[in-house]
């Protein structure tokens, strides 16, 4: 089959930062009407390549050809005008404005300096309609869930240069991890839009950490490792195991061993007991027991109450019924301090908003929880502090291994490790991990899962929440199943428990 001419060709791309060669001699091409995955671990150069393409970074070498013409973008705006639109993980829109205003912000149709509101609404509605979405363009953006906001962001970027309403001006659409905070149905909605755009001939560059999604939606993929090109493959020609090997450069079968190891390890006596604990609008009252050294996994769809359950056990939200006893003593869950005092630690799923203090250094972020529990009058002695921080940076392999680095500048996986270090340093009895592997690369994912197993062996209890059922199955001794804000079942893990069994439990929603 003769290949058509690529709409975008990047050849010999080189990008250097002081002391680091972020990209060396990378080739990348994109054909019209295809969805192309850019794969690689964090730090492999995916983001850098996208930023070079979209004009955020300048080029240190190589050429970019768009539609047969050599181009060089000095700014994201120039790239956009040339037909390359980008949608990032975080939605960069104004929630207080209407959907139509968001779609047309900065390029509102005007007549003699006056905005033509009617025309704007009409065109927005047409655009939304053409893309097969059911959105009321006059409603404020904030009235829609995050997933729809993401769709609006895509509609907005596709609509760029499309003021006459005829055909899309966008030739290339870059989607940088658009799915990381969407649930299954929402992802399908996004995929429907992507297929629609693909049929219209738009070339889509797609970045996601979810391999299943890549295999579902993509036609072709380019794999990067350490800033170099590993290869370009048709998705159909490369299976997941092969892909992971390409990404991390070594075989990854240790994870399977984890499962067996975990199933055979023992748990001790009861550590935490919740009776009738609940919060209106969060989660229905539930009973739960976590034993010493036990990993309790929570399975359920997004919005089923997984996070809400965890937050109650930490006092992040106040329960309005029930009680919690930890180690035989009742703990008032009125504020996180009480739970922390009783030996509970909580890594939130929202690293940026609820975890890190981006302006502070790695060291300061790591010691924060320990320091908070000591109070401000008793600072951790400098020598002890530096030793602890160095120990955990090494143990968790945080990179760069520089305690003075600002944590906001680390990659997602390393930020997650900093948060883990922050809590491990307090030597908690129960560690609550809410989606600790979201948005981080395969290698770091495996490291974190291994860590959970070894912590459990050392006697630490872990409450583990993950969207990927396989992860929960692999690590947990017991699996709590949630549905519609209710804890519907607690299953002891064993050979007979499979993801399909859990899915059935979620679907049937009955107590076992």
């Amino acid at each position: 089959m003769a290949e058509p001419r690529p709409v975008l060709e990047m050849t010999g791309i080189v990008k250097e930062f002081p002391g680091v060669r972020a990209l060396s001699d990378v080739d990348f091409r994109l054909f019209p009407g295809e969805i192309h995955a850019l794969m690689g671990e964090n730090g492999a150069g995916k983001s850098t390549l996208i930023k070079v393409l979209t004009g955020v970074y300048s080029l240190d070498g190589g050429t970019i050809t768009l539609d047969g013409k050599s181009v060089l973008f000095g700014s994201p705006l120039q790239a956009q005008q040339a037909g390359i639109s980008t949608v990032y993980q975080e939605v960069n829109l104004c929630p207080n404005l209407s959907v139509a205003e968001n779609i047309f912000i900065g390029r509102e149709p005007t007549r003699m300096g006056r905005i033509q509101w009617k025309r704007m609404r009409k065109e927005a509605a047409e655009l939304v309609d053409r893309l097969g979405l059911d959105i009321d363009v006059t409603a404020p953006l904030s009235s829609y869930p995050l997933a729809v906001q993401q769709l609006v962001a895509i509609v907005r970027s596709v609509g760029t240069g499309d003021s006459d309403g005829q055909g899309s001006g966008t030739k290339v659409l870059v989607l940088d991890e658009p799915t990381s905070s969407l649930d299954r149905d929402e992802v399908q909605e996004l995929f429907r839009l992507m297929r629609r755009l693909k049929d219209e001939g738009v070339a889509i560059l797609f970045v996601s950490h979810f391999l299943d999604q890549i295999y579902e939606i993509c036609d072709r993929m380019t794999v990067l490792r350490n800033g170099t090109l590993v290869g370009e493959h048709m998705v159909a020609d490369l299976d997941q195991v092969g892909l992971i090997q390409l990404m991390i450069g070594k075989a990854l079968d240790q994870l399977e061993e984890l499962h067996d190891q975990q199933l055979h390890s023992d748990v001790g006596e009861t550590l935490l007991k919740a009776e009738g604990l609940g919060r209106a609008g969060g989660i229905d009252p539930f009973d739960l027991e976590i034993k010493k050294g036990e990993v309790l996994g929570l399975a359920g769809l997004l919005g089923s109450g997984r996070t809400e359950l965890a937050r109650l056990l930490f006092g992040a939200d106040q329960p309005d019924s029930g009680k919690v006893t930890i180690g035989g003593k009742q703990v008032s869950m009125s504020a996180p301090n009480a739970a922390i005092g009783a030996g509970v630690a909580f890594c939130s799923e929202n690293r940026k908003t609820e975890g890190l203090v981006p302006d502070l250094t790695v060291r300061e972020n790591i010691i924060l929880a320990l320091q908070a529990s000591r109070g401000w009058t008793r600072p951790i002695p400098v020598a002890q502090r530096d030793e602890l921080v160095a120990k955990y940076i090494k143990a968790l392999d945080i990179r760069p291994a520089n305690p003075e680095a600002r944590v906001g500048q680390l990659s997602g996986g390393n930020q997650q490790k900093v948060l883990l270090a922050r809590w491990l340093i307090t030597q908690p009895k129960l560690l609550i991990l809410d989606e600790p592997t979201r948005g981080i690369d395969v290698g770091a994912k495996a490291e974190i899962q291994k860590l959970v197993v070894s912590l459990s062996e050392e006697g630490m209890s872990v409450l583990y929440i993950a969207a990927e059922l396989e992860e929960v199955l692999r690590l947990s001794h017991t699996i709590g199943v949630l549905r519609d804000r209710r804890l519907v079942a607690q299953l002891a893990n064993g050979p007979e428990i499979t993801s399909s069994r859990i899915m059935e439990t979620i679907a049937s929603g009955e107590h076992q």
Binding site: F17, P18, V20, A22, E41, N42, G43, A44, S47, T48, Y57, S58, D60, G74, F314, A316, A335, P336, N337, I340, G341, F346, S348, T353, E354, G355, L356, V357, P358, D359, L360, E364, I367, L368, A369, Q371, A372, S373, R374, G375, W376, T377, R378, P379, I380, R399, P400, A405, R406, Q409, L410, S411, G413, N414, R422, D441
Partner: protein, 369 residues
């Protein structure tokens, strides 16, 4: 190469630009007042422009230091000027009612009263901000407006003058040849630095200002910390209030500390603390306050007409703020210099001969794995 890197380390220091501006402003005075830098000994006291700048700048330094920790938590305190007025009014009216205005016990009690009033104001501000969740700018606006009324009430709308030698010492007296105020300021600054950097208070304040929700979830009692900083800020303002009323031996409920909150905020910003909260620098704030005081002095020395002093001041402030902006420096001084004088934003100088874009972009965020 090594001098080069030393120079770079110097220009990257967070105090470099504030200090550079301060030195520049001081030098501007030289052509107008040739003996600007000379310090003379008269009657056992040191006199000179430099001493005066620190002396007259003392209240501003105090207020600005308090303001710094409030701003570091992501707040702001507009009520400091009113607190200055209330404290002065309370202390002076108490002393004026004493039979013997020179009695030490009476003066100490007067000061105690003033400080107590400030603690109450600070608790009120902290309560509104931390407990009631009112935006700091609104919460502190209440005392900013009402506080002047309270001060007027205390003084009966009059300017109370007193004649008390012990009280005069705080703002107008001398000790070891230097104005006593300078020692007060030195002690307050030293105590603040020790409180925030020798204990973990500074870290916790910066965490609360940097990410309030994350701080709550690591168990920091952020409400308590917020109340503490507002009380601390009010106490600093109170000491400034005592100083100002002591210097003039009078309490003027209307004009004491008028607009000092704005100068204090300016000093904090010049010192490099972000109004968004997070990282703060007490040293930077002290330099910032000195810059503002030097500016005021300079305006008088070079004879700017009084009608236009505010305009002149505004222009200098704009220049200082622009100089602090990495983007502005890169644009004006060109890419090469911009890179060399590189930014707080974290832009490391690119290797010689690289393109401008890398240098102009304040902080090329790089994914480091």
């Amino acid at each position: 190469m090594s001098t080069n890197s030393r120079w770079r380390a110097l220009t990257h220091h967070h105090l470099f630009w504030p200090v550079a501006v301060l030195v520049f402003l001081l030098l501007v005075n030289l052509p107008f007042t040739p003996d600007f830098f000379s310090v003379k000994m008269t009657d056992g006291h040191l006199y000179g422009s430099l001493v005066s700048i620190v002396l007259f700048g003392s209240p501003l330094i105090l207020v600005a230091v308090g303001m710094t920790v409030v701003i570091a938590t992501g707040g702001i305190d507009l009520s400091v000027g009113a607190v200055v007025a209330i404290t002065g009014a309370l202390a002076c009216s108490y002393i004026s009612h004493q039979a013997d205005q020179n009695a030490l016990s009476g003066v100490l009690l007067a000061m105690g009263l003033g400080l107590l009033a400030a603690v109450v104001c600070g608790l009120w501000n902290g309560f509104l901000v931390a407990r009631m969740g009112i935006q700091p700018i609104i919460a502190t606006l209440i005392i900013m407006v009402a506080g002047r009324g309270v001060a007027q009430l205390i003084t009966d709308g009059q300017i109370i003058t007193i004649d008390s030698d012990p009280y005069k010492l705080i703002g107008g007296g001398y000790w070891l040849t230097l104005p006593f105020s300078i020692f007060v300021v030195a002690v307050v600054v030293a105590v603040t630095v020790a409180l925030t950097r020798r204990t973990a208070l500074g870290l916790l304040i910066e965490a609360v200002g940097g990410n309030a929700e994350a701080s709550r979830l690591v168990g920091i009692r952020s409400r308590r910390i917020k109340i503490m900083v507002y009380v601390f800020c009010a106490v600093c303002a109170a000491i400034a209030g005592l100083m100002i009323s002591s210097n003039t031996s009078a309490a003027d409920g209307n004009n004491a500390g008028l607009w000092i909150e704005l100068d204090a905020i300016l000093a904090v910003v010049i010192g490099g603390t972000s109004l968004l909260g997070g990282r703060f620098s007490i040293g930077g704030t002290v330099v910032g306050a000195l810059v503002i005081q030097t500016l005021t002095t300079t305006i008088y020395t070079i004879g700017v007409p009084t009608q236009t002093t505010l305009v002149f001041k505004a222009v200098v402030v704009i220049v200082v703020c622009l100089l602090q902006s990495p983007k502005f420096r890169a644009k004006v001084f060109g890419a090469k210099l911009g890179a060399r004088f590189g930014a707080k934003g974290g832009a490391k100088p690119a290797a010689a001969g690289t393109d401008t874009a890398a240098a102009t972009d304040a902080a090329p965020k790089m994914e480091v794995s």
